[in-house]
Symmetry: C2
Subunit: 351 residues, 2 copies
DNA sequence: ATGAAAGCGCTAACAT
DNA sequence: ATGTTAGCGCTTTCAT
């Protein structure tokens, strides 16, 4: 790996000049520019990113904190993040917290501000105190999928109206004529799916449809979790005609459960999820779901993060302290109902 | 972000001493050590990774080149890579080449040796010349999933015997009594699935079973690709009793195709894939497949890469040039047949 | 046991 | 238009 000054020597100039031609800064004579370019080519020179980072006081990477790379929602999102980051000149360091706040903290402490100049947080189950601290130390943080646009988290974020997603799911089921409905809610503990569930329940209530306690199950956010929950639900309430799950994976699991119980989807049972992961359109039957703007959210998040990075640090702070101005929240476009093959009209009761 | 010398000032020592304390180098008096540690804590000091990298002449990151983050095989692999890298003190920069060798080259040129001290290549459809060049420039490269252990690629790699995987698939189908078999091979062009296919065909041949040309379809490595290919296959050869796909996704697609054609799996058609992705056990019916040691391969790859990084550069080179010693290839353990619900015995011909 | 000093490869004033 | 000069924050000889 050749260095700037090697290039400079070969071109008979000083490294400052080489730096200038490489970044189109300062005025450089046309012929020296040529000589420099030749030398760069001859030596196959590539700038040393770590050195540049040090000199510039910034870093060419951002950190993407995720709780689990295995979530099927992750790939599309991460892909969009990577693309967007690339156009803003950043590389992406993937930080898997594995649901463990301590792992998350360890990552933050190590790379925030020293290797990455910004942090994207995607459902990573992190300690907010840790995030505030890294912010306070000067490294911008953006939450990627805040679920309640009207209830800002106190950190910059891009928000998606998941409450609305729940509503849309309920309305669809209601329109199809369903009245005896079950709900499967992503793990209670984190409460991260609360908004989805609220939207769903409220829409039901507005239509005068009740959702008894016993028709609600909390389950891990997986196919297996949905499977188990749906079986319980369907065992307990054999007359259930539709199941709503706060995420696609459990919805898919519900479909499996229905089939194992000898019930056909959508004829004997309708199932609807939220998110619209790739798998939703590839399963049998294809899953009706409420699509969430994944790619858009990713792009907004990167864009917001870059904005924060660019903004001089004092502005970042004052904006928060002096004015009672809250951290920015960018609201992504609304969820959209995608009707596929897993929902239909309830069968008439057998004579 | 406080710096080393700020810590030093507060502790009344010089930055060299702080450095020594922090990395347990050199002899430091017990009381100064204490004072230093206090100062570190008080100032919440964190080493600046970019600065350290520059001073040490090494980098704390490795690059993971992948062709598509969206491949469902990716998450498990990437997760394992991340874990392993972390234990060796490295962060992972995910580089999505999106199947484009030029994108791959751009990544390599930018970060290899300047931000990352090693490169992991996972089915990234990269130009081998580019890889050799980054190697020549002093940045170790490891191929993560070489498919033919006996036909080394000329680069360090971890190899998995995919030929054997194909054999195992064939043997299973044969044992179950299948004779009229169709094959779906991942995109012909790249030829990356050639070994799997060869193993399969050879095992068939050894058993005296022919696989006519028209029973082989080349298809994109997706559910949809497998679906289309399977429909063609089953339309053309209505008496086919089993389908082998060189990957799980197309195998899953084949199952869908069968159902749409009114054929039950496994009763009317058996389907087998290769890899054992998560989805394989979550689909209906669960997919019989030949499992490949994903996690093990990831760990071996990181381990090999680290070894290469640690080894002094001259050794890296001479080993190749003087001795006719080939770059190392680590062979991961053998693929294993996982029998699930998508394969059975062929139905007796209807009277 | 600790300090002084040079340097990693680059950028960014400021001179000339 | 180009060169000089400091650093960026850290590690690492080599002195003391």
């Amino acid at each position: 790996m050749s260095t700037l000054s090697e290039v400079a020597a070969r071109a008979g100039v000083t490294s400052a000049t080489v730096s200038n031609v490489l970044r189109n800064r300062g005025r450089v004579g046309e012929q020296t520019r040529q000589r420099v370019l030749e030398a760069v080519a001859a030596l196959a020179y590539r700038p040393h990113l770590a050195a540049r980072a040090l000199a510039e006081g910034r870093a060419p990477t951002i950190a993407l904190m995720v709780s689990s790379i295995a979530n099927p929602f992750y790939p599309e999102f991460a892909l969009a993040v990577e693309r967007a980051a690339r156009t803003s000149g950043h590389f992406v360091i993937v930080c898997n917290t594995n649901q463990d706040p301590l792992a998350g903290r360890a990552y933050l402490e190590q790379i925030a501000g020293t290797l990455s100049e910004g942090v994207l947080v995607m459902n990573a189950n992190l300690d907010f105190a840790d995030l505030h601290q890294t912010e306070a130390r000067g490294t911008p943080v953006v939450l990627c999928m805040w679920e309640r646009p009207n209830d800002p988290p106190g950190l910059p974020c891009v928000a998606v109206d998941f409450r609305r997603a729940g509503e849309l799911a309920a309305q669809h089921l209601l329109e199809r004529g369903h009245r005896r409905i079950g709900a499967i809610v992503g793990s209670k503990r984190s409460g991260i799916h609360a908004a989805r569930y609220e939207g769903f329940v409220d829409a039901l209530r507005a239509a005068g449809v009740k959702l008894p306690r016993t028709c609600v199950r909390y389950a891990p956010d997986t196919i297996e979790g949905g499977y188990a929950a749906a079986r319980e639900l369907l065992d307990l309430h054999r007359d259930t005609t539709a199941i709503f799950a706060t995420n696609d994976l459990p919805a898919l699991g519900s479909i499996h459960a229905a089939f194992d119980l000898g019930r056909n989807v959508p004829d004997d049972l309708s199932v609807i999820g939220i998110t619209d992961i790739q798998l939703a359109r590839q399963s049998r039957p294809p899953l009706t779901t409420v699509a969430v703007p994944t790619v858009e959210a990713a792009e907004m998040a990167v864009s917001l993060l870059r904005e924060l990075i660019e903004r001089p640090p004092d502005t970042r702070h004052t904006a928060r302290h002096t004015a009672r101005e809250q951290p920015r929240v960018c609201v992504a476009s609304e969820p959209r109902l995608i009707v596929r093959g897993s929902t239909g009209t309830p069968r008439r009761k057998r004579g």
